[in-house]
Amino acid sequence: MSAAPPSVLTEGLTKIFGRFTAVDHIDLSIATGEVMGFIGPNGAGKSTTIRMLCGLLRPSAGRAVVAGFDVARKPEAVRAHIGYMSQKFSLYGDLTVRENLRFFGGLYSVRQSEMAERMRFAITMAGLEGRENALVNTLAGGWKQRLALGCAILHRPPVLFLDEPTSGVEPEARRRFWDLIHDLAAGGVTILVSTHYMDEAEYCNRVALIDRGRLAAIGTPSELRGHALGGALFELACSPLGAALAALHRAPGVIEANVFGDRLHVLLADASAAASLHTLLAAANVRAEAPRPIAPSLEDAFVRLVTRTRRPEAAS
């Protein structure tokens, strides 16, 4: 597995629009069959990166190899080997389900002999049996989204780029969509999917956090949750909160302490230091229960990662 070359590889990939650096030296390596999540605030550079990988934008610096082809040198070859779903829904609303599939199949030169079978597959996958002749405009959001995915994979691309495919789709349909993504990945398709739904990041094999054009962190969801914080997170019920906070900020081994509702969230460099917290707080006249270890959400991790990566910039 480690010997196989990555399906998507970027080295110092950069895109500059005038004086604005949209993507700033991003290094990524996505293995075959991996589902890589692309997370980050709006305008972080997710779409720009995906568009460069699709050959829609020319990189300003660095390089990207997709399915074995350099995107700057062989964009045509790249295009034949990728599927792409853009942020905007982009099928023809005035064409029927079948006509859209036939159109996109034709653009990718899917053989006539295989067309019927592939169309059947796409229609089944999207759950559109019996609606083959419905105008796409008349379909609800979830169906449209799955049909768009169906159109994007008609030519069986080894690599799939999905740019916020689930935005504006109801939760039920989103879950179904993610099932399809996992089915495709199980079949060996490499998938890079951007999203701004944090819960969706949990469905990815790995997650890349993009902020201000830079890669802020990359890893499995649990790695990011754990390591990104650089310590162990505890919840502490105590009073008075102010005195506790002051004491904790002075204490060694405490990275961070924040008020969360009527409790504190305390980030410790070492989990074993939790036992000593009680004595420490007692000395400051704070009544406290035993600290309870809690699992940070991905959102916690991202907020922390983003503030950490931005800090040196603010200092300079």
Binding site: R51, C54, G55, L56, L57, R58, E76, R79, A80, I82, Y84, S86, Q87, K88, F89, S90, L91, Y92, D94, L95, E99, R102, F103, F104, G105, G106, L107, Y108, S109, R111, Q112, L135
Partner: protein, 378 residues
């Protein structure tokens, strides 16, 4: 196995077929405009509203007035009693022309002295004014002849003015013997309508795909920009040819404009014109991110193309710098071609320079569009 161009074309035709109003939108405005312009676009001046002030009140002055009314060109809208009334009529636009017959008109006429007749014309529309004045001098000349015939027998027919030489100019217009300006305008209208419709259709069709997002989806596919552009323009090319045929036939059958040229040259000329017009539409679309921008650009371009084409205003009379601009205007060449084919029936080589110019403009615009198009997302 469908080629990529094939599926593009099929998609375009399905979309066109499914658009219920497409046929209506494509044909009805053309016909409405053809009829409107066909009747409205004319240099002929009739029904000139006229005010008359007769201060002489003589038999001669009444005879002169009846000369005016007899032609049917002048509508006597007011008979004034003083100068102020004339000023008011001209100011208010009630009358375009004022005829003032001064006192002693009949007396001076009988004595062979200068008979005081004054004509005032509203020069706001200089063209109409000039033409109306032309009619006035013709009528006055006619009146003079009639009066002279009246008077001469009395004053001895023998002395029939030996020094007077009468010239009779015989003119013979070619190609449009009746000098019907409808014959001149209808072919021009065909070119103008095609320009407006096809440039708009092409530009909007491409920009709409960009706006909706389908363009991006197409660009990530292996289709080449050449295939895409061809797929996008061929339907409009066919629509354009059908338009030319339709309005030419209406022009010939309804308005009675003769078509003496070679239909195949007409097909060639129309095809080259459409090539340049499609190129223009595409070029416009590469400069527009939204349909609104396309609309603004379209608006900015079409009027100059229309005015600087020779449709109504002779190019030779334009300032040199505007004449240069007309060389970039495909309508300029097509108007030459279509008028020549309708009225003169000239051959291929006569029109070759115009054919070549349209071909160059068309291929140039298409090439630039294609170059700009492949990078259009950057």
């Amino acid at each position: 196995m469908f080629g990529r161009l094939g599926v593009m074309l099929m998609k375009e035709f399905i979309e066109l077929k499914r658009d219920r109003w497409a046929m209506f939108r494509l044909i009805v405005p053309l016909l409405v405009q053809l009829f409107a312009f066909g009747y409205a676009a004319t240099f002929t001046v009739t029904r000139v509203s006229t005010v008359i002030l007769d201060l002489d009140q003589s038999q001669a002055s009444r005879a002169l007035i009846s000369h005016f009314t007899a032609t049917g060109i002048f509508d006597i809208v007011d008979v004034a009693t003083d100068q102020r009334q004339i000023t008011r009529d001209l100011n208010q636009g009630t009358a375009t022309l004022a005829i003032v017959i001064h006192a002693r008109f009949a007396a001076n006429l009988a004595n062979g002295k200068e008979a005081p007749l004054q004509v005032i014309v509203d020069g706001t529309n200089s063209n109409t004014a000039l033409i109306a004045l032309g009619y006035v001098s013709q009528i006055v000349a006619l009146f003079q002849e009639d009066e002279a015939a009246h008077l001469l027998p009395a004053s001895a027919g023998a002395s029939a003015a030996p020094g007077t030489l009468t010239l009779s100019l015989q003119y013979q217009p070619w190609f449009n013997a009746g000098l019907s300006d409808r014959w001149f305008f209808i072919p021009g209208i065909i070119g103008t309508l095609i320009l407006v419709q096809i440039v708009g259709l092409t530009a909007f069709a491409v920009v709409r795909e960009r706006e909706v997002g389908t363009l991006e989806q197409i660009l990530v596919s292996p289709i080449s920009s050449f295939e895409f552009i061809l797929g996008k323009t061929v339907p409009f090319f066919l629509i354009g040819l059908a338009d030319v045929a339709l309005i030419s036939i209406v022009g010939i059958l309804w308005f009675g404009v003769p078509f003496v040229g070679n239909p195949f040259l007409m097909l060639l000329g129309s095809s080259l014109f459409l090539l340049s017009v499609l190129g223009l539409g595409l070029l416009l679309s590469t400069f527009s991110q939204t349909q609104q921008q396309a609309f603004a650009l379209n608006f900015f371009l079409l009027n100059p193309f229309f005015i600087l084409s020779g449709f109504a205003f002779p190019i030779a009379a334009m300032p040199r710098i505007l004449q240069w601009f007309t060389y970039l205007n495909p309508l300029r060449y097509f108007l030459v071609v279509i008028r020549a084919l309708f009225l003169k029936g000239v051959g291929f080589w006569t029109l070759f320079p115009d054919f070549a110019a349209m071909f160059l403009l068309g291929t140039g615009a298409l090439a630039i569009s294609m170059m700009r198009f492949s990078k259009s997302l950057d």
